[in-house]
């Protein structure tokens, strides 16, 4: 479980202090929730009735979900028994870059068909390069150069169809 510590300013959460054992506990909780939710959701599968005798569409997913919950609980027991093997930390120094990168990636997906492939790729690539620690001017050059590569390699050579309506307006 993530450890919390009190300070003068109140509770402070530091994801880097999450131990491997704590990670296993979180994983088990997530898997059990997934298993229960998946089992309930499988009850909503609408089955077509026909002449051929067949098994329910929920049969296979429910078998897997039952296995998932059983093995997750075994993992929990294993983690409690083997304390020494689950020491150590999970997340690294720059963990906070992951949520930022995720937002940039989904933003590119949102903008891709709205403003066109080239501006969306350029903008997201530039931001990701800066986030990764590349100097802004170098990032600008790489992002712009990559657009030329996209055009020549993907569009001209491979014939990949990308949304370019935005460019056609000009």
């Amino acid at each position: 479980m993530a450890e919390q510590e009190s300070s003068d300013s109140g509770w402070r959460f530091d994801v880097r202090r999450l131990s491997k054992r704590g990670g296993d506990m979180i994983a088990v909780a997530g898997l059990v929730v997934l298993g229960v939710y998946g089992w309930i959701e499988a009850g909503n599968f609408v089955e077509e009735t026909g002449m051929v005798r067949t098994l329910s569409p929920a049969f296979f997913p429910r078998t897997l979900l039952a296995g998932l919950v059983i093995f997750a609980l075994l993992l929990l027991i294993n983690g409690l028994v083997r304390k020494a093997a689950s020491e150590g930390q999970i997340f690294q120094q720059y963990w906070y870059k992951i949520p930022v990168a995720t937002v940039i990636m989904f933003a590119q997906a949102y903008l891709f068909e709205r403003i066109g492939a080239f501006p969306a790729i350029w903008l997201a690539l530039l931001l990701l390069l800066v986030l990764a620690g590349v100097r802004p001017l170098k990032s600008l050059l790489i992002a712009t150069g990559f657009l030329a590569f996209v055009y020549l390699f993907f569009i001209v050579f491979l014939g990949v169809r990308l949304p370019t309506e935005f460019l056609l307006k000009f």
């Binding site: 491997k20 990670g23 994983a27 898997l31 998946g38 959701e41 499988a42 599968f45 609408v46 089955e47 077509e48 026909g50 005798r53 067949t54 098994l55 329910s56 569409p57 929920a58 049969f59 296979f60 997913p61 897997l64 979900l65 296995g67 998932l68 093995f71 993992l75 083997r82 093997a85 999970i90 997340f91 690294q92 120094q93 720059y94 963990w95 870059k97 992951i98 990168a101 995720t102 990636m105 989904f106 590119q108 997906a109 891709f112 068909e113 492939a117 790729i121 997201a124 690539l125 990701l128 390069l129 990764a132 620690g133 790489i142 996209v150 993907f154 491979l158 990949v160 169809r161 990308l162």
Partner: protein
């Protein structure tokens, strides 16, 4: 048989096929040499762009990447002590000390010559064993296929991770992802949440790109910028005379056999092949004390075995349709996308594809030899790209790849969600290879299970009364029991 060979060789008259082979080997070498990138990542990134190629050119491109990637890891292992692949770490044990002793050229010569020998040896083994195995497997029905699927999944889960519980859970997650979409037998929608984009299920390409490419991007970002690879030595360009190389024939033969055999076992892979061959080379050597201090015999054993696993791993993939590693799982997915169904029937229905693959595998090793001998300095320049630059570029290529397969932004969203899932799985210690193998085998396992139960009067007993099925399920249970025993022994050692 002879006509089939002619059909296979005929493909090589196509410039597209030759270009695909050369480009594939070159890309594989770069991917293998770059620390952090892996063969499956390179394969996953290239799949979307194979749609414009003929099926045989696509398959040859991907197999060539696989061949090149197994060799590429040794270049950075020998020159800068930074192996690009897990098996490269074994090569580095003796390869880097040789560089420190000013024998880089000889070590690199040994690496490329033994990789080529291992690759060609295993390709010949593949040709010899796959045809009879396919003829044996032609009688398989749903009962045997279900048992085969369970065997493949269990053995991969128990061998690949070192933590059998997490391996099994990873397999179940892979199987569950594939239940999203339309039920293959009744047509009912499962876990689609009213989204038409999910009716056809999770796109295989999006899943592969998410699991391998996007999770890798996250990992690079999280670790932070690392300085690019810098060489601390001036590399000698002295090459090893071929006569000297031949004097290592015992090591080559032994490591080739071990690598090929280990490659056939699902879940074992190139790293295990290299470790076993290295240990055996040391055991049989006249100078075991030189191992670890810089001996060409160590490089020979590791490199022969890791490339020999390629042909071995293709045996169950081509004959039974069961992948045993991350790379072969991605290959299986790619073959299915091109309407090529690996398995015994492929040997009857599409012999040109089968024998095209055999011919290409032999030739790809020759291409690798040429590119390896003459291109080392170029590969070293390429792999010096900083990971900080590489990660965003991988994301952009993966994004275009996921979008271009169906022109649908939902595929990109699926890739990102699965990428996040893959990153979290890696963080919490769950291996990704069993997830991928679960994904590609899910349809075979589910359809075979349901068909077998429909035709069975005895329910699940049918899997134990059929001799082939019972043997496979017995082997699956044995591999699981072996992992549990190892786990208990490890726990006792820790507490002792």
């Amino acid at each position: 048989m002879f006509e089939n060979w002619l059909l296979g060789v005929a493909h090589l008259g196509d410039w597209q096929v030759i270009l695909a082979m050369v480009f594939g080997v070159a890309l594989g070498i770069v991917v293998g040499a770059m620390p952090g990138l892996s063969g499956p990542t390179g394969l996953a990134l290239m799949i979307p762009f194979t749609y414009g190629l003929s099926p045989i050119a696509s398959v040859i491109l991907l197999i060539s990447i696989y061949v090149g990637a197994e060799y590429g890891g040794s270049i950075t292992a020998i020159t800068v002590n930074t192996p690009g692949t897990p098996s490269g770490a074994i090569t580095a044990i003796d390869g880097y000390p040789l560089t420190q002793q000013g024998q880089t050229g000889r070590a690199l010569s040994m690496s490329i010559l033994s990789s080529t020998s291992g690759g060609i040896f295993s390709a010949i083994a593949l040709i010899l064993f796959s045809v009879p195995l396919a003829q044996f497997a032609i009688a398989f029905g749903p009962v045997q296929y279900f048992a085969l699927g369970v065997f493949g999944l269990t053995i991969v889960a128990s061998l690949v991770s070192g933590n059998w519980l997490k391996g099994i859970i990873a397999v179940l997650i892979g199987l569950l992802i594939q239940t999203v979409g339309t039920d293959p037998m009744t047509g009912a929608f499962r876990y689609t949440f009213g989204q038409p984009a999910l009716w056809e299920g999770v796109s295989f390409i999006s899943a592969m790109l998410g699991l391998f490419a996007i999770s890798e991007v996250f990992r690079i970002l999280e670790v932070g910028v690392r300085s690019r690879l810098e060489a601390s030595h001036n590399f000698s360009s002295e090459r090893m005379p071929f006569r000297e190389f031949i004097s290592y024939w015992k090591c080559l033969l032994r490591s080739g056999v071990l690598g090929t055999f280990i490659g056939v076992i699902p879940g074992a892979g190139a790293a295990v092949g290299s470790i076993v061959a290295y240990n055996e080379a040391k055991r049989f050597s006249r100078h075991p004390e030189k191992f670890g201090k810089g001996t060409l015999e160590g490089v020979c054993a590791s490199e022969t075995a890791n490339n020999a696993t390629v042909g071995g791993a293709l045996v169950p993939l081509l004959t039974l349709g069961v992948p045993g590693s991350g790379s072969t799982a991605v290959l299986l997915g790619a073959l299915l996308l091109h309407n090529i169904q690996p398995g015994p029937l492929m040997f009857e229905d599409q012999p040109d594809i089968v024998f095209g693959i055999f011919t290409a595998l032999l030739l790809a090793n020759v291409v690798m030899l040429v590119l390896g001998v003459y291109g080392v300095r170029f590969w070293l320049l390429v792999v010096r790209i900083s990971p900080a630059i590489l990660a965003p570029l991988i994301f952009s290529v993966a994004f275009i790849g996921a979008y271009s397969t169906g022109g649908n932004i939902a595929d990109v969203a699926v890739m990102l969600v699965i990428g996040l899932l893959g990153y979290l799985l890696r963080k919490f210690g769950f291996p990704l290879v069993p997830v991928v193998i679960g994904l590609v085998l899910a349809d075979m396992v589910e359809i075979s299970l349901r068909r077998a139960l429909i035709i069975s009067d005895s329910g699940f007993w049918i899997f134990l009364t059929d001799p082939i099925s019972a043997t496979l399920i017995g082997l699956a249970a044995a591999s699981l029991a072996y992992s549990i025993i190892q786990d208990v022994r490890g726990r006792r050692r820790t507490t002792a």
